[in-house]
């Protein structure tokens, strides 16, 4: 993205409730890291630098979900000082695994972990960043794919639209030439309803996809759930597999609630 006066664009990386894995992905780009750092000014990235610049920023990458009142306010501020805001990972795009609290009584959760729950202040829900502020682009995955992250940053620098797929894992599976685990072994697989982006990793290791990239854009659950049952999953199994890292994504949430009512 062109900036005034030819200065290097400023990049900021923010953390909310998360495991840090998605922002760590940037440090895992060993081949690209020093190169990226020459093209952008890394203005705010606590995981990597103790120097901080108050902004404004040209590109903000946001990792994590909103689970406290303070964080709900902080994201408003971050949005107001960011030209482009990209959410990275299932926590930021769907609320993450911590959104399992959305189905439970948080007071009870607190009591299960902390002996003196009254010290702990938290919201009853974990919500994605897009529930609070407009988001320019969402990168899926728990964690995101390294290659896609580099693509987003390079496209941003070149001022073009990043190439991020929006088909399903099945599509990538076929591209990769992996035999279908459902067909070959009757292994249940969420590939047909899961967003592409990982390169169909699990089937390549002989495992069914467990949906860590969240729902794909075209989903037909009424046709899909019977396939899981045919391959041996009962109601509890189906609910569990839908309620993991993208549990609060609307499509997975609706399907798991419907299943739980059965």
């Amino acid at each position: 993205m062109p900036t005034e006066g030819g200065r290097r664009p400023k990049l900021a990386v923010w953390k909310f409730a998360s495991c840090d894995g998605c922002q760590l992905t940037l440090l895992d780009c060993e081949d690209e890291l020093l190169g990226i750092a020459e093209e952008v000014e890394i203005s705010y990235f606590l995981e990597a630098s103790s120097a901080t610049d108050p902004g404004p920023y040209d590109l903000s990458l946001v990792d994590g979900s909103i689970t406290t009142r303070q964080d709900a306010e902080r994201i408003q501020h971050i949005r107001s000082v960011s030209r482009r805001l990209v959410t990275i990972g299932a926590c930021a795009t769907a609320g993450g695994i911590q959104a399992l609290r959305n189905y439970a009584d948080v007071a009870e959760f607190r009591a299960a972990v902390y002996a003196k729950p009254e010290y702990i202040a938290t919201l009853a829900t974990s919500t994605p960043i897009s529930a609070h502020v407009p988001v320019d682009l969402e990168l899926r995955g728990c964690p995101i794919d390294r290659g896609r992250l580099v693509e987003v940053i390079t496209a941003f620098l070149a001022g073009r639209k990043p190439d991020v797929p929006d088909h399903s894992v099945c599509f990538e599976c076929k591209l990769r030439g992996t035999p279908c685990v459902i067909v070959a072994h009757g292994t249940p697989c969420l590939g047909p309803v899961t967003h592409a982006g990982c390169g169909a990793l699990c089937p390549a290791y002989g495992r069914g996809c467990y949906g860590c990239f969240g729902p794909s854009n075209s989903i037909n659950f009424s046709a899909f759930i019977p396939l899981l049952r045919r391959d041996g999953m009962d109601t509890l199994d189906v609910v569990r597999v839908l309620r993991t890292f993208n549990t609060a994504a609307p499509e997975f949430d609706a399907a798991s609630r419907e299943e739980a009512r059965r």
Binding site: C19, D20, T68, R110, A112, Y119, A121, L201
Partner: protein, 468 residues
């Protein structure tokens, strides 16, 4: 800046295990009256929502506690579930798990060494700045890190939250050919690791010690990583020795099944992390503890590098209690992990099956492994169908918190004896003390502003506690 005798330093936003914390320090008449690592990382309630899940799920779920050491979570979880079900994974599958863990050690320790810790020794804010003056060393570090990732990617599918680990073993195991090409790369990196140990050993280290018990797993015959018996070494003061004594002291071991009787977690009002104590006393886990407990079992090349780096010979009962020098111990551990990975690959035969069956049964299981940052313990209670009815995770950083606070008190006290430091100096020193223990990635560089409060300024805390 501070006219009175009392002062209070607050560092907003440092971090904890995977995230967010702050430092709060009060000094009165030259004495440290309070040194707190405040943790306000939002709670994510893993232990609560693990209840009701299937016994096959904890490895993938708990992996998401920490993006920096997912393998540690997956393998502590596997061990605990397998223990509950009465299954023991040994032989070739156990060797593959150790190989996988070596990959995480290489990746995670080189990350801490180069990206988080080394910049402190050069007065740099980040690795990017460090690369301007130490380009070749940083590039070597990134290559080493990448070779660790390559191991985890081959065995686990990807380096963050690997998909190939399951209770009982793996979904798919590598072929010998796949491991052979990995070995070629590791052989080159082993030489690079020797150079890295030499590089860090040349840094300028302040004199320091730590008067804590040291807790690590012990597995006689090997440097314990993925299994072992919890073993504690006495603190130097119990033997009337100074905190920086470099002698090994008596140890005691306890069965991992009694972990909860020895390591007790307490909640403190200012933190969302639970503090733990070992038999009522402060303890430290991580590289310094492992080196003290298992150092004698390092491979010859690692022992030699340690000796050349000034760490002495652990076979002669030498230990290192200077937290600033932990960076050397980490570097030695990276070298060892590469050497050990090569040893495992050289004798590798694919296991007969990628996993053994682990049928559920009612019971409680315990599992402990050595995460890069220290001992990580999991406990699960299952019902007869394998549904998790109770879960407990004790991460290394929670255990180390008391020791880190004590190190802060000691370091600041000693610094104050040498004259009045500025706030900026004191802040930088405290940040270093915290990073010495690699409390977790974001912790290590999570420092924002410093505010100084006069005694009656009725300062408000920057962030109310919330936890993980």
């Amino acid at each position: 800046m501070n006219g009175g005798k009392s002062r209070e330093l607050k560092l907003g936003a440092l971090g904890r295990v995977e995230g967010e914390g702050a430092l709060h320090l009060c000094v009165h008449n030259g004495e440290v009256t309070e040194a707190r690592l405040k943790i306000y990382e939002p709670p994510r309630f893993f232990e609560a929502f693990l209840r009701g899940r299937a016994h096959t799920e904890p490895p993938d779920i708990t992996s998401r506690v920490c993006g920096i050491c997912p393998v540690a979570y997956q393998l502590s979880a596997c061990r605990a579930v397998e223990d509950a079900c009465g299954t023991v994974i040994d032989g070739r599958l156990a060797a593959l798990r150790r190989l996988l863990y070596c990959g995480e050690w290489i990746e995670s320790q080189t990350l801490h060494i180069h990206l988080l810790h080394a910049p402190d020794f050069f007065g740099c804010d980040s690795v990017i700045e460090l690369a301007r003056i130490q380009r070749a060393e940083v590039e070597r570090g990134l290559r080493l890190k990448q070779s660790g990732n390559a191991i985890v990617e081959l065995l686990g599918g990807r380096s963050i939250h690997p998909i190939n680990i399951r209770v009982g073993g793996f979904h798919r195991v590598p072929t010998r050919a796949e491991l052979r090409s990995l070995a070629e790369r590791l052989r080159r990196e082993r030489d690079a690791a020797v150079d890295m140990v030499r590089w860090v050993s040349g840094f300028d280290f302040p004199d320091a010690g730590c008067d804590h018990e040291l807790l690590a797993l012990a597995e006689p015959g090997s440097y314990a990583i993925e299994s072992g018996t919890p073993t504690a070494m006495d603190a130097p003061s119990t033997a009337g020795l100074p905190a920086d004594a470099d002698r090994a002291l008596p140890t005691r071991a306890f069965d991992v099944h009694t972990f909860g009787d020895h390591v007790v977690e307490r909640q403190v009002p200012y933190s969302t992390a639970l503090h733990s104590v070992l038999d009522g006393r402060r303890h430290l886990t991580g590289s310094l503890a492992r080196y003290a407990i298992s150092g004698r079992w390092l491979s010859p090349i690692a022992l030699e590098a340690a000796r050349d780096a000034g760490l002495g010979d652990p076979r002669q009962g030498t230990v290192c209690r200077n937290p600033f020098r932990s960076i050397i111990v980490r570097a030695v551990e990276v070298l060892y992990a590469i050497d050990e990975a090569l040893r495992i690959i050289d004798t590798y035969e694919p296991p007969a099956h990628p996993a053994v069956k682990v049928p559920p049964r009612a019971g409680t299981g315990h599992g402990a492994t050595e995460a890069p940052r220290g001992l990580l313990y999991h406990r699960y209670t299952l019902d007869a169908k394998g549904t998790v009815t109770g879960a407990n995770l004790v991460p290394p950083t929670a255990q180390n918190q008391g020791a880190i606070e004590e190190d802060l008190r000691r370091t600041v006290r000693e610094r104050l004896r040498d004259g009045e430091p500025t706030d900026a100096e004191l802040t930088a020193l405290c940040e270093r003390v915290i990073r010495n223990h690699d409390p977790c990635i974001s912790c290590s560089a999570h420092f924002l502003d410093l505010r100084v409060h006069r005694p009656h300024s009725a300062a408000r805390e920057g962030n109310p506690p919330t936890g993980a």
